[in-house]
């Protein structure tokens, strides 16, 4: 495996979901300000959890399968991107189901 293994998995997640925006008209990327405001608290909470877990040795990363770029708290860049990519996929799935089924989410008037 290469240094791009982890990043590659995340790229697959993005590439595997972007069609929802086009075909089902999820309009998630189009509402990028709302998406950004959603990501901020989620990234903050889960990065904090991650930094604690790394320090407590709950988990570690194969150094030859991540980019090697480490952020403060010994957090691999790959791991930070995980907390951006996966929430985007979750919102896309949520809006995709809504686009097809029309079920309420609680943000309607």
């Amino acid at each position: 495996m290469s240094h791009f293994a982890y990043i590659g998995v995340l790229a697959c997640c993005l590439l595997g979901t972007v069609w929802l925006e086009v075909v089902l008209r999820t309009r998630v990327y189009r509402r990028w300000r709302r998406l950004l405001l959603t990501l901020l608290p989620v990234v903050a909470v889960f990065v904090a959890w991650d930094v604690y877990a790394i320090a407590a040795h709950h988990w570690s990363f194969s150094s030859d399968q991540v980019t090697g770029i480490r952020l403060p708290g010994d957090l691999p860049l790959d791991e930070l991107l995980f907390f951006v990519v996966i929430p985007i996929c979750a919102v896309l799935a949520f809006e995709a189901v809504r686009a097809v089924r029309g079920w309420p989410a609680g943000d309607e008037r």
Binding site: T38, H58, W59, C89, A90, F94, A99, R101, W103, G106
Partner: protein, 137 residues
């Protein structure tokens, strides 16, 4: 604290955030559970790759040891917290009027014709003004 304990606390705090702090109550909606089921399916694949190829390695002392598709069961709780928290904030900002619109849908293409009376939105997409939005049965 072990990963097991933290994961349980993480889910509990996420439920508190969704139900009582943000009051978004996404966890009470069919839309959430159907979306989560889809995400869960893909989580088992991607997380299986991350743990199966040892990209991420877990300390045996931090987990109970039950595994599903290579990944520790604690990851299910972690994933649930991540998805619920994300969707709670997404709905929260929409309710606050931050880019509530444009609503999702209607699909450009969908393999099955969406029946008029299925509760689906047809030409109106998820626009509640279509007045055909219903909770799933």
């Amino acid at each position: 604290m072990s990963y097991t304990a933290l994961a349980l606390v993480g889910v509990a705090l996420t439920l508190v955030l969704d139900l009582w702090v943000l009051r978004t109550r996404v966890v009470t909606r069919g839309l959430f559970w159907v979306s989560y089921a889809i995400v869960l399916g893909f989580q088992l694949v991607t997380n299986g790759v991350l743990t199966g190829f040892d990209i991420v390695v877990y300390d045996d002392d931090a987990i109970v040891g039950w595994r599903l598709a290579f990944a520790p069961v604690e990851d299910l709780l972690f994933g649930f917290a991540l998805v619920e928290q994300t969707l709670a904030w997404w709905v929260f900002w929409g309710r606050r009027g931050v880019q509530r619109e444009p609503f999702a849908g209607p699909p450009r293409w969908w393999p099955r014709r969406i029946p008029e009376d299925s509760g689906a939105t047809g030409a109106n997409g998820a626009d509640p003004r279509g007045q055909r939005n219903r909770e799933p049965a």
